[in-house]
Point group: C2
Chain length 178, copies 2
DNA sequence: GAAATTTGTTTAACATGTTAAGTTATCCGG
DNA sequence: CCGGATAACTTAACATGTTAAACAAATTTC
């Protein structure tokens, strides 16, 4: 991990298999998805140890955190707010309920819907973790710069909006029905 | 998905459990990790269907993509380039090898190291997927703006660098040994 | 109002993320 | 040489991501 290895591998023949090369195809590590992935990982790396010490995963934290902002919330809404897919949320809620960190009951008007809320035990846990999380977030803000951080989030938001309208074309190579 | 639901859930009593409230604690959905997660998801949502049509996951694609840039590469280096953890890479390589998309052999000088390279079948697959991927990337660039995209990536890179030096403090609540 | 359809949530199945524990091969000091 | 570090992977175990299918309650149709 000393970072001395050749950054792009030892290549002598720059063409390799003739048919493949259609340009270096964008340096790859500089692609947008990779940039976003690395940036997010750099951020989360700061938080994970603290969460772990409290027996929480990132997603469990997101759920409890979202629950502190409301009295009760329906599962689907919670999935949207915590940005989790239904199946993941379903599993995590089952575990959190078993740990008595949340409470759950069916809605009176619609028995399909589940209403979730944080328990007092869950609240205590949040209170125990929050200070450290806030401190880490504060240091990140300070290091990167509050101004720049706000700007970055604006740009990320606009990226989202730019792609929201973009239709996902599947090209349909292996499937053509539906 | 029409976006009509109440954006913050139906809350009547604004205080709920008294001990919880210590400030809204940063709107949460506007936290940096969430912003990065949503942005990346918005981007990957564009690519996944195409990859899926070719029987590839995002990570498998990253690996094959990285392999086209080199003649051969060691597993550890590949993990660094494709930004995957060792265990994930180990599993994926096993599968890709079983599908004859890559080739693998032990290094002569050090039998621990594995040298990986893409197979001709793997190259053909890459060639089949690349055009669509490039087209999608081009449209993203056009929609968001090439100038702005470059700026965003610069800012993401600087965020990485800002946090690289930051020591990960674990606070040691539940563990104090080591 | 019963059948068909839709909606909210959960299960299933497979792939990856994440940390810890193995395995085998090198390296190193005596 | 030999036994104790190290290093490079690989396995194991558990949690989540992702898509498809199952289920039950609610809504719509006829």
């Amino acid at each position: 991990m000393t970072g001395k290895k050749s950054p792009n591998g030892p290549r002598s023949d720059q063409e390799g298999t003739p048919e493949a090369r259609r340009g270096p195809m964008r340096e790859f590590s500089r692609s947008l998805p990779m940039s976003l992935l690395r940036a997010r990982e750099a951020v989360m790396r700061q938080f994970r140890p603290s969460l772990r010490n409290h027996g929480l995963t990132e997603q469990q934290w997101r759920i409890l955190r979202a629950l502190t902002a409301v009295d009760t919330i329906e599962v689907t809404e919670l999935a949207r707010v915590a940005f989790l897919l239904g199946p993941s949320l379903s599993r995590i809620l089952r575990d959190l309920e078993a740990r008595d960190l949340i409470e759950r009951r069916a809605a009176k008007t619609d028995l399909r819907r589940g209403e979730v809320s944080i328990s007092s035990k869950g609240l205590k846990l949040i209170e125990a973790v929050a200070p450290t999380s806030e401190a880490i977030y504060a240091e990140i803000t300070q290091r990167y710069g509050a101004r720049k951080l706000a700007e970055l989030q604006d740009m990320l938001g606009e990226l989202e909006r730019s792609l929201a309208a973009m239709e996902v074309a599947g090209e349909g190579d292996a499937e053509a029905d539906e």
